[in-house]
Symmetry: C2
Subunit: 262 residues, 2 copies
């Protein structure tokens, strides 16, 4: 399983992904799921993949090959992310790479009963354009985050969604958004053992056109451990401070009595 | 969609289920998903269903028919929940009802491309036995909550799972567990519009052998609204109190600067 999230904020972009891959519980490994295409002063493009690892790796391999000058046989259009005129074209290029891999592998996977399953979060900024964020699907089609969307998630998305919904707005600072992303990972890792440390975190400052901050947060990282503990204590305290029910269960002798045991 | 949770505590049992059913977004309705079989002084059995509504309703209908004395044609064993010797037998009876419905409907559903999808949470106490909690699957097989399991969920389970994992232990009081269950519903309803008020809540006090408390919490219930608001404020405060990252993004002029806009 994978968990990855990309956030689009007024101040820039935040990306985070775990590095756990598993094919059954007895084949667990660490693979980097975040790829950065950067030309300082011109563009930063970040890609995170989820799904069948052979597909997501092949897509990244294809994109790197195109970026290095390999010509796409079935296309006369540009396929190099380093030359994409804007992020919309970049999303089309990622979609084209997915279709290239599908053309090669799709039928063979189907013969072996394996779905062609791979989705990507793509975000970045090119030149004068504002930062943009996309969600690219297995078929190579994609959607873009509009004014009402602050983030996309891929992989094991549900456990870590509520806290992002509560905290992050477009005007949230990059530091706060990064912190919220780590809490979102904490909730996910507590509930699903197939999402695990280390976590790659990348922060992009709007209009900087270079990677502002990148770090791989390792297992037992002191800040992450402290954050997780503080969040547990804070949640428990917030829960304890909640009003008791106004119905009898909270006040009746029945529910407040010690449990009887036979 | 459905969300339902059953908790097994030292002090008794807590059950909660929503009442939203949808077949596509244009066919949304309210149906009761919690059924109680109670013989005060002898037994309380609570059943909550998730999945295909025609199946879960048929299972409940079959169980009520058996309870009223209808004989099961393919069985010489008891099928009346009111006469089950213990909760294990009750779980087998629910499984038998599922298989009865499958025998009638399974093939026809398959011909129309519909999965036979129905799962149940079954809990209660019969006579001298301690309270027990089961998760019954579509095939009529089931698992029981052991000493390390405090709850089962069915339906849209993920959004509301982290808070239960953090708060509820076997020794948690019934009132606290009921409050935590409502918070779990709050998180789920925020993230999935197909889970919605009203919520049925039932609290069973160990060894009482009668329903201790039952209430349908309606939309705009003042306590639920206040709880939801207090939880939002408490979560935000807990989040704001978290330590900032010890890496540059939290302190650098880059991330603390106002976003530049073109």
């Amino acid at each position: 399983m994978t968990y990855a999230v990309g956030l689009l904020l007024d101040a820039g972009l935040v990306f985070a992904s775990d590095n756990r891959t598993n094919a059954g519980v007895d084949h667990v490994a660490t693979f980097k799921k975040m790829t950065v295409f950067e030309t300082p002063g011109d563009r930063v493009i970040v890609l995170m993949g989820s799904g069948n690892l052979s597909i997501t790796q092949s897509v990244v391999g294809q994109l790197k090959a195109w970026n290095s000058g390999e010509k796409a046989p079935r296309s006369r259009t540009n396929r190099a992310l380093s030359k994409a005129a804007n992020m919309f074209e970049a999303a089309r290029i990622v979609g084209a790479a997915l279709r290239e891999v599908y053309a090669l592998d799709g039928e063979h996977l189907r013969e072996h009963g394996t779905d062609f399953n791979a989705t990507f979060i793509l975000g970045g900024q090119i030149g004068q354009e504002p930062p943009r964020l996309f969600h690219v699907y297995s078929a190579g089609n994609f959607i873009e985050a509009g004014p009402d969307t602050t983030y996309f998630q891929i992989g094991e998305t549900k456990y870590g969604k509520p806290i992002i919904d509560r905290i992050v707005r477009r005007e949230t600072s990059l530091a706060t958004a990064a912190k919220c992303t780590l809490i979102s990972f904490d909730s996910t890792m507590r509930s699903n053992v197939s999402v695990a440390m280390p976590i790659d975190v990348l922060v992009y400052d709007r209009d900087s056109l270079k990677v502002g901050f990148y770090r791989r947060i390792p297992r037992n990282d002191p800040y992450m451990t402290g954050l997780s503990d503080a969040w547990s204590r804070g949640l428990s305290a917030a829960f304890d401070a909640l009003p008791d029910p106004d119905w009898p269960v909270g006040a009746s002798p029945v529910s407040k009595s010690r449990p009887r045991r036979r």
